[in-house]
C-alpha cells in the first residue's frame, strides 16, 4: 500500500506541477509584461475592488 502511495504522490506532483507550468505559459503569452508587472507598492488602495460586507 505504501509503495502505491508514493506512486500517487509522484503522479500528483506531475499533474499539479504540469498544470502550473501550463498556466504560467498561458498567462505570459496572453498578457503584456507591462500589465503583469504593473503592481506598485502603495497604490493598492486605488486599484482594489470594493468589498461589501
Amino acid at each position: 500500500m505504501w509503495v502505491y502511495l508514493t506512486y500517487l504522490c509522484w503522479a500528483v506532483c506531475v499533474g499539479l506541477g504540469g498544470w502550473m507550468l501550463f498556466d504560467w505559459y498561458k498567462i505570459d503569452t496572453t498578457y503584456s509584461e507591462d500589465t503583469l508587472t504593473s503592481s506598485r507598492e502603495g497604490e493598492i488602495e486605488a486599484v482594489s475592488e470594493k468589498h461589501k460586507v
Partner: protein
C-alpha cells in the same frame, strides 16, 4: 475589477485585499505551530528538560517583543514584503535587501524542514520494512502547497486556518486527556525531571538551548507579509499577530508540560516527533493516531505559510527592481505573485532532497535571528525619526525602548548559542550576506528606481 484583457489599455493588476484577522492568525500560527510538534525539543538535548522550559519563557519574551514591535511598524507600513518594506523606509535600501533575503532564506529553509518532517513522519508510520523513502511525500507536500498558493490567497489561508486550528486543538485535547491536574496518574513529571537531571549541563546548557528554543515561536513575524492583502491592516495585523502569540504561548506551555511529563529528557532531546511520541506514551491508540495526523497537518500549515511569505518577499524585491522586475508579476486571475511562487518551488525541492533536517532548521533559525536583530534597531530608528504623533500609527507598543533592548540582548544570546553548536554555518551565512551586499551595492542598485521605491506619504524624518 482590475484585471485586463488582450486589446484593452493596460490596467493595474495588484494583490487582492481579501484577508481578515483570522487569516493573519492562520498565517502566523500556521507557520509556527510545527515548532511544538518538532524542533523545540532539541533544546532538552542541549540543556535538559528544565532548560527547555527556561528558554520557552525567554523566547516567549523575545517573540512578544517581536510581535509588539512588528505590529506597530507594520500597521503603519502596510505593504507586501513586511520587514523588507519597513527596512526600506526606515533604514535604507541595503538593509532592506538583506532583510528580504533573511526572510526568503528563513521561510524557504523552514518550508524545507516542514516537508522533510512531513515525509519522515509518513515513512516512520509505514514501519521499517515498507521499503519506501520520504522523497515522494516531500515533493508532493511542496508541489500541492505551491499549487494552493498559486491559486489564490483567500482559499489558501482558509485552508491554513482549518488545519492550524485542528493541530492546536489536538495539543489542547492531549493536554486534558492526560489529566494534568493529577500528577502521577498518567504524567510523571516529578520522576522524569529531578534535581539531578533537570539541568545536566548546568547554565551553559541553558544558554546553548536558546538555539532550539527559538523554534517554539519562529515565524510569527510572518504575519506582516499579509499587510498588502488584508482589508484593514491597522486592525487585522495587530489583532491577528497578538492573538497568534497568545495561542502559541498556550500551545508551547502545554507541549512542554505534557512532553516533559511523559518522555525522559534523553528521548525528548533526540526524537523528531515529541508530541506524537507523547501521544504514544499515553498508550492510547486514539491519542497516538491523533498526534500523528496533526503532526502532518502542522507541517503542512507551516510549509504553506512559508511559501506564501517567501514568495511575497521575493515579489517585493522584484517590484522595486532590487531583483529583475520579472519577479513582480501578479497573476491576472488569481492575483498572486505566481512567478515568485514557481521560481522558489524547485529551490525548496532541491534543498529538501539533499538537506539534513537539523541543518535546514539551523539555517532557518539563523536567518530569523538576523531579522530579529534588525527589528530591534529598526524600531529605535522608527521612533527617533518619526516620534509618536508625527505620523498615524495603527498600534503603538508599550514600554518603548524596553522591548527593543530586550529583543537585542536575547538575539545576542541566541547567536552565541548557535555559535556553540553550528559555528561554521553561522560564519558561512554571515559571509554569504556580506558577499550579496557587496553585489547589491556595487552592481544591482544601479537598476533600482530610487525615488519610486519610497511610497509612504510621511513627513520628513526628524533631523533630516
Amino acid at each position: 475589477m482590475t484585471t485586463t484583457s488582450m486589446g484593452s489599455a493596460p490596467q493595474k493588476i495588484s494583490l487582492s485585499r481579501v484577508l481578515g484577522p483570522i487569516h493573519v492568525w492562520a498565517l502566523g500560527v500556521g507557520i509556527v505551530l510545527v515548532g511544538e510538534f518538532d524542533g523545540w525539543n532539541f533544546a532538552a538535548d542541549k540543556g535538559g528538560a528544565l532548560a527547555a522550559l527556561i528558554v520557552l519563557w525567554f523566547c516567549g519574551l523575545l517573540y512578544s517583543a517581536v510581535a509588539m514591535i512588528d505590529s506597530e511598524v507594520t500597521s503603519t507600513i502596510a505593504a507586501a514584503g513586511g520587514q523588507y518594506a519597513q527596512a526600506k523606509h526606515i533604514v535604507g535600501p541595503l538593509m532592506a535587501f538583506n532583510v528580504a533575503l533573511y526572510m526568503v532564506f528563513a521561510y524557504t529553509m523552514l518550508e524545507v524542514s516542514d516537508a522533510i518532517l512531513f515525509g519522515d513522519a509518513i515513512v516512520s508510520k509505514s514501519g521499517g520494512d515498507s521499503g519506501i523513502n520520504h522523497n515522494s511525500f516531500v515533493a508532493a507536500s511542496i508541489i500541492i502547497l505551491a499549487f494552493l498558493n498559486y491559486r489564490g490567497v483567500l482559499t489558501n489561508l482558509n485552508f491554513n486556518f482549518a488545519i492550524t486550528a485542528i493541530a492546536f486543538l489536538s495539543i489542547v485535547i492531549l493536554f486534558f486527556s492526560v489529566m494534568p491536574w493529577s500528577q502521577g496518574t498518567v504524567l510523571k513529571l516529578n520522576e522524569l525531571v529531578t534535581p539531578e537531571n533537570a539541568l545536566p549541563y548546568g547554565w551553559i546548557g541553558v544558554i546553548a538551548s536558546f538555539h532550539w528554543g527559538i523554534w517554539y515561536f519562529l515565524g510569527i513575524e510572518g504575519t506582516t507579509q499579509a499587510a498588502e492583502e488584508v482589508r484593514s491592516p491597522a486592525r487585522a495585523l495587530p489583532l491577528g499577530t497578538m492573538a497568534g502569540m497568545v495561542t502559541l504561548l498556550i500551545a508551547a506551555t502545554m507541549t512542554w508540560y505534557v512532553c516533559a511529563s511523559l518522555l525522559p529528557w534523553q528521548l525528548l532531546g533526540s526524537t523528531y516527533f515529541p508530541l506524537w511520541d507523547a501521544g504514544r506514551a499515553t498508550q492510547s491508540p486514539l491519542l497516538e493516531n491523533m498526534m500523528f495526523i496533526t503532526t502532518l497537518l502542522a507541517a503542512l500549515a507551516s510549509a504553506n505559510g512559508c511559501i506564501n511569505d517567501a514568495a511575497r518577499a521575493w515579489f517585493s524585491l522584484g517590484r522595486d527592481r532590487y531583483l529583475p522586475s520579472w519577479f513582480s508579476a501578479v497573476h491576472p486571475k488569481y492575483r498572486t505573485p505566481y512567478r515568485s511562487i514557481i521560481f522558489l518551488t524547485p529551490i525548496a525541492l532541491a534543498f529538501a532532497f539533499v538537506a539534513d533536517l537539523n541543518q535546514a532548521i539551523t539555517f532557518s533559525i539563523l536567518s530569523g535571528v538576523l531579522q530579529y536583530t534588525f527589528m530591534s534597531i529598526n524600531i529605535m530608528m522608527f521612533r527617533k525619526k518619526w516620534p509618536l504623533g508625527s505620523i498615524q500609527r495603527g498600534y503603538t507598543h508599550p514600554l518603548h525602548p524596553i522591548p527593543a533592548i530586550m529583543l537585542f540582548a536575547l538575539c545576542m544570546v541566541t547567536f552565541f548559542a548557535i555559535f556553540l553548536g553550528y559555528g561554521v554555518q553561522l560564519t558561512a551565512m554571515v559571509v554569504f550576506y556580506i558577499v550579496v551586499s557587496v553585489w547589491f551595492h556595487f552592481y544591482r542598485y544601479q537598476y533600482v528606481r530610487r525615488g519610486a521605491q519610497f511610497t509612504m506619504p510621511w513627513p520628513k524624518p526628524q533631523g533630516y
